[in-house]
């Protein structure tokens, strides 16, 4: 399927509106309400277990326009975090020692002109830094060619999407030529030590299905990815994270356009797993938007579902104690994180 070069936002597509997406998600009257599902398992209201991760979305700008992107990111998106807001994140981290990990996402986070400054400042705070790197950005422009060395210098954990170990399904999801560039970028990361035993430089891959189906068991698929990437391209990596696609934004558009929406929701609902519900990532993560507003996760952020009104709303008012007391905001898309073995930005949540 050909990829559209523009975001839903640029196309003024009705699904670029969070309110419309929520309407679509609510229409499936045949699916039980997610909140009621949690109630049945004594998990409602859903409370944090205590945040240890701050996930910061530094902007929607990206060099790719992936078919499944929940951010609706792309080259035409201009919303990016300012240095002032980054400084507010740093201030929040200084007063929150319980937050040990900072997870940078986008868009392509590297495209934010203050990205390097932000990573350097975070590095001084001694936090574990994760960067969700789409790989192709490293080759997109000369100014990004030294990114593997920059990551190495700050011991950044690199987490990169590679939906498949072959070009066919990777390019169908991420764009023509993305597979070959991703392979090249992985080889460059390997060259500086990433993914190599004993280097202490962690390189993890993210698998999400290129279509209307759920991901495989992580351990088994990781073994297959390792075998195929090693034999085909001499690539090493640490872990494979299997992530379920959530029915929002461009993936929702794909589901509706391909006539798969109802059957996909049915798959998610049928696969509801209470153990996965108990270990969802919103219980230990707080998400920050490009403009500094706070959310329970990156998906809620894209649906403009802010954290509960009882909690601080903006990074400038950050209080971990107050946020740890909040009720997590739920909706029907949450079924994506509780299906089967569970799903989070760190992959499967239950063994």
């Amino acid at each position: 399927m050909a990829l559209s070069a523009t975001s839903l936002h640029r196309q003024k597509h009705e699904l670029s509106e969070p309110a419309y997406q929520l309407t679509v998600l609510q229409q499936g009257a045949q699916f039980p309400e997610f909140a009621a599902q949690l109630q049945q398992h004594n998990l409602y209201p859903l409370k944090p277990t205590g945040a240890t991760i701050l996930q910061v979305n530094v902007g929607k700008m990206c060099n790719q326009t992936c078919r499944h992107c929940h951010v609706d990111a792309g080259p035409d998106r201009k919303e990016i975090m300012t240095r002032e807001t980054m400084q507010l994140c740093l201030d929040a981290l200084v007063k929150s020692p319980d937050i040990t990990t900072i997870d940078l996402t986008g868009g392509a986070p590297e495209m934010n002109p203050d990205f390097r400054w932000f990573v350097e400042e975070l590095s001084k705070l001694g936090k574990q830094i994760v960067v969700r790197c789409n790989l192709t950005i490293i080759l997109a422009n000369k100014k990004y060619h030294d990114m593997p060395l920059f990551f190495k210098e700050h011991k950044v954990q690199v987490v990169s999407s590679l939906p498949y170990f072959a070009a066919s399904r990777t390019d169908a999801q991420r764009g023509d030529g993305v597979f070959d560039k991703s392979i090249k970028a992985l080889q460059l990361l390997n060259e500086v030590g990433y993914g190599k035993a004993g280097s202490g430089l962690q390189l993890d891959l993210v698998y999400n299905p290129s279509g209307a189906f759920l991901p495989a068991a992580q351990q088994s698929l990781e073994a297959e990815f390792k075998r195929r990437l090693k034999s085909g391209f001499d690539i090493d990596f640490n872990n494979l994270f299997c992530i379920t696609n959530l029915p929002i934004s461009r993936y929702l558009e794909y589901l509706m356009q391909s006539g798969n929406y109802e059957s996909y929701m049915e798959k998610l609902v049928d696969a509801f797993n209470p153990a996965a519900a108990a270990s969802v990532m919103c219980r230990n993560t707080i998400s920050v938007g490009w403009d500094g507003y706070l959310y329970d996760c990156d998906f809620n952020q894209m649906l403009e579902l802010h954290v509960s009104p009882t909690a601080p709303q903006h990074i400038r008012d950050f209080s971990l104690a107050a946020l740890n007391k909040r009720d997590i905001i739920l909706n029907q898309h949450c079924y994506g994180c509780t299906a089967g073995a569970g799903s989070s930005c760190g992959g499967q949540t239950v063994a």
Binding site: R169, P215, L221
Partner: protein, 111 residues
């Protein structure tokens, strides 16, 4: 009788066969579940075998179910088509090898 023999919605009702003779049905589903667990063969390898057999027995329910299952378990399209060719080769071979029987009979009946 329905207007068509096969309805995709019936696949989801497979479990309902236990409404009659539940002991037999439940034993079958327990066995089925056991067979498809990760074992000496991986769950992905078993899904590919199931896909091949689905074609050999020409069961549309099974083709639907195991195409999804193969994708979900991370099999690639080429592996899936190769599995179908294995089924086709065995089915074709099974027809052709009987040519020997035919030739034996020819020999018996002709001068």
């Amino acid at each position: 009788m329905e207007k068509t023999y096969y309805d995709p919605a019936d696949l989801k009702k497979f479990g309902d066969i236990t409404k009659l003779q539940p002991e037999m049905g439940n034993k079958f589903f327990d066995y089925y579940g056991e067979v498809f667990k990760e074992g000496a063969l991986t769950a992905r390898e078993k899904a590919l075998i199931a896909l091949a057999v689905s074609h050999a027995v020409q069961c549309p329910y099974c083709i639907d179910a195991y195409t999804s299952d193969c994708l979900q378990k991370g099999a690639d399209e080429n592996q899936m088509m190769e599995a179908v060719h294995v089924a086709a080769a065995i089915k074709g071979g099974a027809a052709l090898v009987h040519g020997v029987q035919m030739m034996n009979k020819i020999k018996e009946l002709t001068m």
